[in-house]
């Protein structure tokens, strides 16, 4: 058998497991096999984009796809088109906003939709409060920029309240109080932004 990229004999028959369409066997000569194996391993974006392309082509008409591409996250502003091209999401809220579009992709990649591993010892903020925090932070940056320090300071307090509320949720359950103390000692990020 010849290498699929040149005329040399294929001495390596590599099964690529990360291909979105399932395992794919590559028949390569030694030189091309080496090049293939040295390929940057941190390129999941490529497989994400590939998986999405396949998934979208199967289920949607051109019109539906164009509509989906224009869908934007209200928090970070990323469009589905941008995500599809880069394989990277813009903010934690994207998992909520694009949930129905992402689920087939997650199933495709992980064969699962439910996390069953470690949970944070401090209660996580809800998707909505995470979104609120990101938006407030942006507003705070804008306030600092226009030198409206009073508004910036109000937002900082608001942010701290949301974060503390998450900590308290957990301390009421099973967390070591020492852990939640960490929040107070280091202050909020607001000072850093100014």
């Amino acid at each position: 058998m010849k290498c699929q990229y040149c005329e040399k004999p294929a001495t390596f028959h590599i099964t690529e497991l990360t291909e979105p369409n399932g395992p794919q066997v590559m028949h390569l000569c030694e030189e091309h096999a080496r090049g293939f194996l040295q390929k940057d391993s941190s390129s999941p974006a490529v497989s994400v984009a590939g998986a999405l392309a396949k998934q979208l082509n199967l289920g949607q008409t051109k019109k539906e796809l164009a509509e989906l591409d224009q869908k934007e996250c209200p928090v970070c502003g990323i469009s589905f088109f941008e995500f599809r091209n880069t394989g990277r999401l813009g903010c934690p809220y994207d998992y909520t906003h694009f949930e129905s579009d992402l689920e087939p992709l997650l199933t495709n990649i992980h064969d699962s939709l439910e996390h069953c591993g470690k949970k944070p010892r401090r209660a996580a903020a809800s998707a909505d409060s995470q979104a609120t925090m990101i938006q407030l932070r942006r507003e705070m940056e804008e306030a600092v920029e226009r030198e409206d320090y009073e508004r910036a300071s109000e937002i900082r307090d608001e942010l701290k309240q949301i974060e503390d509320a998450s900590s308290k949720d957990t301390s009421a359950k099973d967390v070591n109080p020492a852990d939640t103390g960490g929040t107070d000692t280091s202050g909020t990020e607001s000072g850093d932004a100014s």
Partner: protein, 362 residues
Amino acid sequence: MKRNTDFSELARNSGEWLRGTGPESDIVISSRIRLARNLADFPFIRRCSDEDRISIERTVRARMEAIEDWQDIRYVDIEQLSEIDRQFLVERQLISREIADADGSRAVAIDPHEQYSVMINEEDHLRIQVMHSGLDLNSAWDRINALDDKLEGAILYAYHQKYGYLTACPTNVGTGLRVSVMLHLPALVITQQIEKVFRSMQRINVTVRGLYGEGSQYTGDFYQVSNQITLGHSEEDLVSLVGDNVVPRIIEYERKARDFLISQGQKDLHDDVSRALGILSTAKKISSEETMHYLSKVRMGVNLGLINDVAVGTINKLFIHTQPAHLQKLHGRLLGSSDRNVERATYLQRHLSGSVGPGELN
């Protein structure tokens, strides 16, 4: 935590993970686990403004500084580093190439023993990694889990009740956990059995990659095995998939291939590895590619008892120390490619001719 960018001491030493000890260290170089984490109140890196990145870096640093027993941790502002220093940290595997090449505010916290590092503003806000010598995933997991707990006590992570830890790329969501074991598989390469290994792992959800993706540089028969999925299984299960299920099988294949090579002609094999050692110990100039190629043979020779006067730890160290940035740091000035080939040969000669003992590092 100390702000420190003087890497000369680091360059002369070698990290714990290069000791060449630990379970199965004749085949397994190192066990690495990393966790991807993001702050709940910032967009992911791709959508961050410059101010956001600065704010994340300052926030995380302030919170790390408040962690007890982190006084000895070295904190490095990557944006301020020279290109050679960034490359040095990449060769050392303390930072990723991605963060080295990125723009804007970014940093890394490094444990003095180089067993763990925490990157800030990589693809995710936090990338925590732990590296141990040999096949030692369970203790690597215990350590990174404890580190994560400490950071989590100070930082509110982006977390979703259903999807777990939220990450910039959906391939990392859930546990955010990537378990990677670096293996030296020269006999499987020589006997052309490596394809069978790939094939046997077809249905197990693991990825195999050559080590270092640096241009045309020879891999030296190193392969990295990692879990592919991160969602739907507990961290312990993913660690066990790689550490108890996949890697022991590959080790077994490699051992069989080594036995086969010996049974087929020990003299030939002995000649091959001895010649490799001869070239490395006597060459007057040598490229990085050739060095990797011959060091790989010598490493196998040492592990098969065909070469007795070189320690595995020395070979492991030479793999890293003969790379471009390390050579230049050790030499104390910038060197062109041709000068590096001469310096590399001199360095190899000093370490392999017996004039520098395995315990000495310069």
